[in-house]
């Protein structure tokens, strides 16, 4: 019979709000669509048929899906940036940008524990851990690069002022040859990111058993009672020790200083 050291009481924590989950799954969907159609645009397979060209629009549809998904991706991305300023503490922009030493320290701890697999140690983070947050920040930069290069390529096909704002891009890349190449290469960042991301979700769920996978469905994570109390204490210490918090009307949640940026 299996034996375990302790039976845990789990506390339910609401981590991912509905808009965050909606953003996540829409983002996942459009990134899959963009990578698939983008790869086909770069390397079209031989979809031959006997029909006349006038009766087919297959490649046109593939490109159409790519462009629609690109617009969804871009505006979804903008929405997420906005939500980083109005969402809950786990959605806040401070989770993503290292603004203080504590952030870097936590990153190093996560690298030791989860990447180099320090024996039988685990790291508790209710929302994003510092390393994950920072890597999401890098993906946001990649989103930006991909949007700029993509709309740069699209600009000459579009009459809309929004896409036309990006006509300057191809100049930086020495014409559309280079622009296209970089846009295509950046796709691989998304593919590799997705592989690692999905793996790590499974990893955390497997090792920690806190409902990492399902959290992006219902928004809940489940942490042990003692871990919950420890986390609460830690956050309280931070809140009360910072002098500015007493002056802020809403408990310092909107404070942008480096001290408060600690996750």
């Amino acid at each position: 019979m299996a034996t375990h050291t302790a039976t845990h009481k789990l506390r339910r924590v609401f981590v991912w709000e509905l808009p965050v989950r909606f953003y996540h799954w829409l983002n996942a969907l459009v990134i899959v669509a963009l990578c698939a159609t983008g790869y086909l645009i770069g390397n079209p397979p031989a979809f031959l048929s006997n029909a006349e060209a006038s009766d087919q629009y297959l490649f046109g549809w593939i490109r159409f899906i790519h462009f629609v998904a690109a617009y969804l991706f871009f505006f979804n991305f903008l929405f997420r940036l906005y939500w980083g300023f109005v969402g809950n503490k786990y959605a806040d922009w401070k989770n993503f940008i290292p603004t203080n030493r504590k952030f870097w320290q936590e990153m190093w701890e996560v690298i030791k524990i989860d990447i180099f697999l320090q024996k039988d140690k685990e790291h508790l983070s209710v929302g994003h851990n510092a390393l994950a947050g920072f890597i999401y920040f890098l993906t946001f930069l990649a989103f930006l690069v991909q949007c700029i290069t993509g709309f740069g390529l699209y600009a000459s096909m579009s009459d809309w002022w929004f896409a036309d704002m990006f006509v300057w891009v191809s100049g930086i890349f020495g014409g559309e040859f280079g622009l296209r190449n970089w846009h295509h290469a950046a796709m691989w960042f998304f593919i590799i990111f997705a592989m690692v991301h999905v793996y790590l979700v499974f990893y955390h769920d497997y090792v920690e058993g806190r409902g990492e996978i399902s959290s992006m469905g219902g928004g809940w994570k489940f942490i042990e009672d003692e871990a919950f109390e420890k986390e609460k204490q830690r956050q309280n210490v931070e809140k009360t020790t910072h002098p500015r918090h007493r002056q802020l009307p809403y408990g310092g949640r909107r404070c942008w200083c480096a001290f408060c940026a600690a996750p």
């Binding site: 039976t7 593939i62 296209r180 190449n181 090792v207």
Partner: protein
């Protein structure tokens, strides 16, 4: 030696002297007006300008180039282009066509530069080597840089003919042994029109010059300095094979059935989707054909750095910094493969290193299952 300044003949007078009829002249005006994208009334403006205006003095310099631009120019669809625009405008100075040579030629150039200071158009064909003080291209005892700087000083405007002058073309391709440099990087403070292509289309070249004669100013240029009338659309946008592209019908190899059917050449490396030029509309050799029409993909000769964005017969370019023949997909697949291996290794290691944690979680869960 002094020459008394006589009234220079107008373009029309020179055209008539050459034996062209008024009818030929009007046909020429219509053709060139159409190429320039003018509406019907614009043709009258062209005719008017050519009848009234006297010849604009032109100095046409040749540096590191193959003269294909001049060759293209003299093959434009109407003989008046070659007879008048080239013969007459380049009378002042052009190494490849002028009758004079040696000191006489240099003297003629110096005279034009002095007499028409601030009025002449400077046409430049070819790139300028800048390495080792520019010794790789010397004319009349001067380096190309010196010749260019002298001539540019008094020019009203500069036309950079062809990809060499616009972006360096083959001389500037890696490793660029002479540090071949395009004109716009060497001359500042003068309006520069870029007419890229290897060579540019003759009608496009004629159109640019006629525009300047007719309207007395530069044609409207795009953000990189090319005339919008000819370079605002991609070859892809005006390609007659575009329906095959949209249908997803592609030539797989040059000798397959699809090639015979005239399908899209995208998969055999056509760079039409990235290349801005008028080939699909104006075509070449009196509108006879253009590369795609003769079954070969566009290789983007009017785009910057097209030599180094090879290979010509593949769609994806080689990726900088990863050696020969490795495109973004090949590098990406290797990186993704390495990532998959890393993930697998990490997953296996996790089971050993975190054994205690994992077995606790599993045991807790299983015990609960049994209890229920």
């Amino acid at each position: 030696m002094t020459t008394t300044p006589t009234r220079r003949p107008t373009y029309y007078e020179e055209i008539r002297q050459k034996g062209y009829s008024r009818r030929d002249f009007m046909k020429f005006c219509s053709i060139i007006g159409a190429y320039m994208g003018l509406e019907a009334t614009g043709v009258a403006q062209v005719a008017n300008a050519l009848q009234k205006n006297t010849r604009v003095p032109v100095i046409w310099l040749h540096f590191q180039e193959c003269t294909c631009c001049s060759e293209s120019f003299i093959r434009s669809s109407h003989p008046i282009v070659a007879d008048i625009l080239l013969d007459k405008i380049s009378l002042d100075y052009t190494e490849t066509l002028m009758a004079a040579s040696g000191h006489q030629a240099e003297a003629a150039k110096a005279k034009t530069m002095k007499d028409y200071h601030g009025e002449y158009i400077l046409c430049v064909e070819g790139s300028v080597p800048t390495k080792d003080d520019g010794v790789y291209c010397c004319i009349g005892g001067k380096s190309a840089i010196q010749v260019l700087e002298e001539a540019a000083e008094g020019a009203k405007a500069i036309i950079a003919w062809g990809s060499c002058a616009c972006n360096g073309c083959v001389q500037a391709a890696h490793p660029n042994p002479t540090t071949a440099t395009p004109i716009h990087k060497l001359v500042s403070g003068k309006p520069i029109i870029k007419v890229p292509g290897c060579p540019p289309i003759g009608e496009v070249m004629a159109g640019v010059i006629i525009h300047m004669i007719t309207f007395g100013r530069l044609p409207e240029l795009d953000r990189v300095g090319r005339p919008k009338a000819f370079y605002s659309k991609r070859v892809h946008d005006t390609c007659y094979r575009r329906p095959f592209y949209d249908a997803g019908l592609f030539v797989e190899t040059f000798d397959d059935e699809n090639a015979q059917k005239g399908y899209c050449l995208y998969k055999v490396g056509c760079k039409g989707p990235m290349t801005y030029n008028a080939c699909g509309v104006t075509k070449w050799n009196n509108g006879t054909s253009y590369p795609i029409q003769s079954g070969h993909g566009c290789f983007g000769c009017s785009e910057e750095n097209f030599w180094d964005n090879g290979p010509i017969y593949r769609q994806m370019a080689n990726f900088p910094g990863f050696g020969i023949e490795s495109n973004a997909d090949e590098i990406g697949m290797v990186a993704a493969g390495a990532t998959a291996v890393g993930i697998a290794a990490h997953a296996i290691a996790t089971n050993f290193r975190k054994n205690k944690l994992i077995s606790n979680v599993i045991a807790e869960g299983k015990d609960a299952e049994k209890e229920l």
